[in-house]
C-alpha cells in the first residue's frame, strides 16, 4: 500500500516538476512547483516522518504563494499572454539536470543500503525533536539568532526609512512621521 502511494506521489512530483518548465505563465509555473513540493512532502509522510512531511507542505504553500506575488511583480509578462519559459540556457541546463538525475538514480541503485539497527521508534516526531533540541541545542540556538539577525539586517539595509526620518534628528518627534498610515497607536 505505502509502496504504491510512494510510487504515485513520486510520479506526480516528477510530472509537476516537468510542468514548471513547460507551462506558459509564471502563476502556473509557481503552482506546478508547489504541487511538486507538496508531493515531496507526502513522500516524507509515507516514509514515516509525518511531522517533517506536513511542515514541508505547510511551509512550501506559504513560501510559494509569497513567491508567486514577487515573481509576478518582477516578471515582464507574468500572465503568459505571450509564452514565457522558465528555461534558460536550454542545452546546458538539460545536460546538467539529466546528469544530476542519472547520478542520483545511479547512486540509489549502486550504493549498498545500510541494514536497520535496532527497532523502529514509536514516535518519529519525538525522536526528531530530541535529536534536534537535545544534542544540537547550541547549534539550533546559534542558527536561530543568525537567521533572525540576517532577516533584520537585510530589512534594515533594504528599507529607506530609518528612525531619524521617522522620529527626527533628536528622536523626539512624536508622533513618528510614518509614510505608511494606520497600525498601532495611529
Amino acid at each position: 500500500m505505502s509502496a504504491v502511494l510512494f510510487g504515485v506521489l513520486a510520479v506526480l512530483a516528477l510530472v509537476a516538476a516537468l510542468l514548471v518548465f513547460s507551462v506558459g505563465s509564471m502563476a502556473r509555473a509557481t503552482f506546478a512547483l508547489l504541487a511538486s513540493l507538496v508531493c515531496a512532502g507526502g513522500e516524507v509522510v509515507v516514509l514515516g516522518l509525518p511531522y517533517l512531511g506536513l511542515v514541508t507542505v505547510l511551509m512550501m504553500v506559504m513560501e510559494m504563494v509569497v513567491m508567486a506575488v514577487f515573481m509576478v511583480a518582477y516578471m515582464m509578462d507574468p500572465a503568459g499572454l505571450t509564452q514565457m519559459s522558465m528555461v534558460h540556457n536550454k542545452r546546458g541546463s538539460l545536460v546538467i539536470s539529466a546528469g544530476v538525475f542519472v547520478a542520483l538514480a545511479a547512486g540509489i541503485l549502486l550504493v549498498r543500503w545500510p541494514e536497520r539497527t535496532g527497532t523502529r521508534p514509536a514516535d518519529t516526531t519525538f525522536q526528531l525533536g530530541e535529536s534536534l533540541m537535545g544534542g544540537q541545542m547550541l547549534t539550533m540556538i546559534t542558527l536561530g539568532f543568525v537567521l533572525l539577525a540576517t532577516m533584520v539586517g537585510a530589512t534594515v539595509l533594504a528599507t529607506r526609512r530609518g528612525r531619524y526620518d521617522r522620529f527626527g534628528d533628536d528622536l523626539d518627534q512624536r508622533p513618528a512621521r510614518d509614510p505608511v498610515g494606520g497600525g498601532v497607536g495611529r
Binding site: F31, Y51, V55, V57, V61, T125, V184
Partner: protein, 309 residues
C-alpha cells in the same frame, strides 16, 4: 480517550461540516434580519439558503482569457481544505484520522486556503479579484504567526501534537481557562482565515467583492461555501484545542462536542457582526507588534507549567 472511527466516518465528516456551515449561515441571516428590524423567522433563514440552488442553476459568467485551470483549482481548494482540516477533529470519542501530528495537519490545510484564494483571484483575470487575492495573502501574513503560537500553546500544554492528546490533557481544566489569550487569538484567526466579518477585506465592498467579485454560478457557491465551512471547521477545532473536547457531565461525548461547537459557532457569528472591516496593513502591524509578543508570552506559560510538572 480518542479512538479512530470506522472507515465510513470518512463520509460523515464531509456531511456534518456543511450542516454546521448551513447553521452558521442561517444564524447570520437571522442576525441581519433582526438588526434591520425585519421579522427573523424560518423564512428569513431559508431565503438566504435559496442562494444555493440559485447559484447552481445560474448562467456562469466568464471574464476574457481567464486562467481556467488555476481558477478552478483555487475555487475547489478552499472548501476541500476546510473539509480535510476537520478529519483530525475528534467528534466525541471518535476521530476520522487520529494523526500523530493532527495540529500541524490542521495548520497545513488552513494554509492551503492561501494558495486556493490567490489562485481563484488570479485565475479570473480581473483587477479587483486579483487585488482580493493579494489582500488575503497580506491578511494571512498578519494572522498566521499569532495563530501558530496559539496552536503551539495548546500543543505545549498537552505535550502532544495529536489532537486526541490535547483533549486528554484538559482533563479537569480546559485550556481556555488558563490559556485565555491563545483561545482569543485562535478565535480571531478563525474569522481571519474564513475571511468573514472584520476580516472580509479580501472580499471587501470597496473592491466590488474582491475574490468573489467576478465569480458566478458554482464557482461562487464553492468559494462562499468555503468561507462558512472554514468558520465551522475553526469552531470545531476550538473545542478539542481549548474546550476539553467531548468531556462533560451527563450526555454522551459526541453531544458535548456538537454542543460546544455550536456554541463557539454562534459566538463567532455574533461577535463578527459587531466589528467593522479591518485593513490588512493595519492588522499586520497590530499582529506583529502586539499579538506576536503576547502570544509568545502565552506560549511560555504552558511551557513553564509542563517543565514544573
Amino acid at each position: 480517550m480518542v479512538d479512530a472511527a470506522p472507515w465510513w466516518s470518512l463520509f460523515v465528516a464531509p456531511a456534518l461540516l456543511p450542516a454546521l456551515a448551513v447553521f452558521a449561515v442561517a444564524a447570520d441571516a437571522l442576525l441581519i434580519a433582526r438588526e434591520a428590524g425585519r421579522p427573523a423567522g424560518v423564512v428569513t433563514a431559508g431565503r438566504r439558503l435559496l442562494e444555493v440552488p440559485r447559484l447552481l442553476v445560474a448562467q456562469p459568467r466568464r471574464t476574457p482569457s481567464s486562467d481556467t485551470l488555476l481558477r478552478r483549482a483555487g475555487v475547489v481548494t478552499v472548501p476541500v481544505a476546510a473539509v480535510l482540516a476537520v478529519l483530525v477533529v475528534p467528534f466525541g470519542r471518535r476521530t476520522v484520522g487520529d494523526l500523530s501530528v493532527g495540529v500541524v495537519w490542521f495548520n497545513a490545510m488552513e494554509v492551503l486556503t492561501w494558495a486556493g484564494l490567490w489562485m481563484s483571484g488570479w485565475g479570473q483575470n480581473a483587477a479587483f479579484s486579483l487585488i482580493g487575492g493579494y489582500r488575503y495573502l497580506a491578511q494571512g501574513l498578519a494572522y498566521e504567526l499569532p495563530l501558530m503560537f496559539a496552536l503551539i500553546s495548546a500543543a505545549t500544554g498537552a505535550q502532544s501534537l495529536r489532537v486526541g492528546g490535547v483533549v486528554a490533557a484538559q482533563h479537569g481544566l480546559w485550556f481556555a481557562v488558563w490559556m485565555p489569550f491563545a483561545f482569543a487569538v485562535f478565535l480571531t484567526s478563525v474569522s481571519a482565515f474564513s475571511f468573514l466579518g472584520p476580516f472580509s477585506y479580501p472580499a471587501g465592498r470597496d473592491i466590488a467583492g474582491g475574490v468573489l467579485g467576478d465569480t458566478s454560478g458554482a464557482d461562487r457557491l464553492l468559494l462562499q461555501a468555503g468561507r462558512w465551512l472554514w468558520l465551522a471547521a475553526g469552531a470545531a477545532m476550538a473545542v478539542p484545542l481549548f474546550l476539553g473536547g467531548g468531556a462533560g457531565p451527563g450526555p454522551a461525548p459526541w453531544a458535548w462536542s456538537l454542543l460546544k461547537t455550536l456554541a463557539v459557532l454562534v459566538a463567532l457569528v455574533c461577535i463578527q457582526r459587531r466589528f467593522p472591516m479591518v485593513r490588512a496593513d493595519r492588522y499586520v502591524e497590530f499582529a506583529w507588534v502586539v499579538l506576536v509578543p503576547l502570544a509568545v508570552l502565552q506560549a511560555l506559560v504552558p511551557a513553564l507549567v509542563v517543565l514544573n510538572r
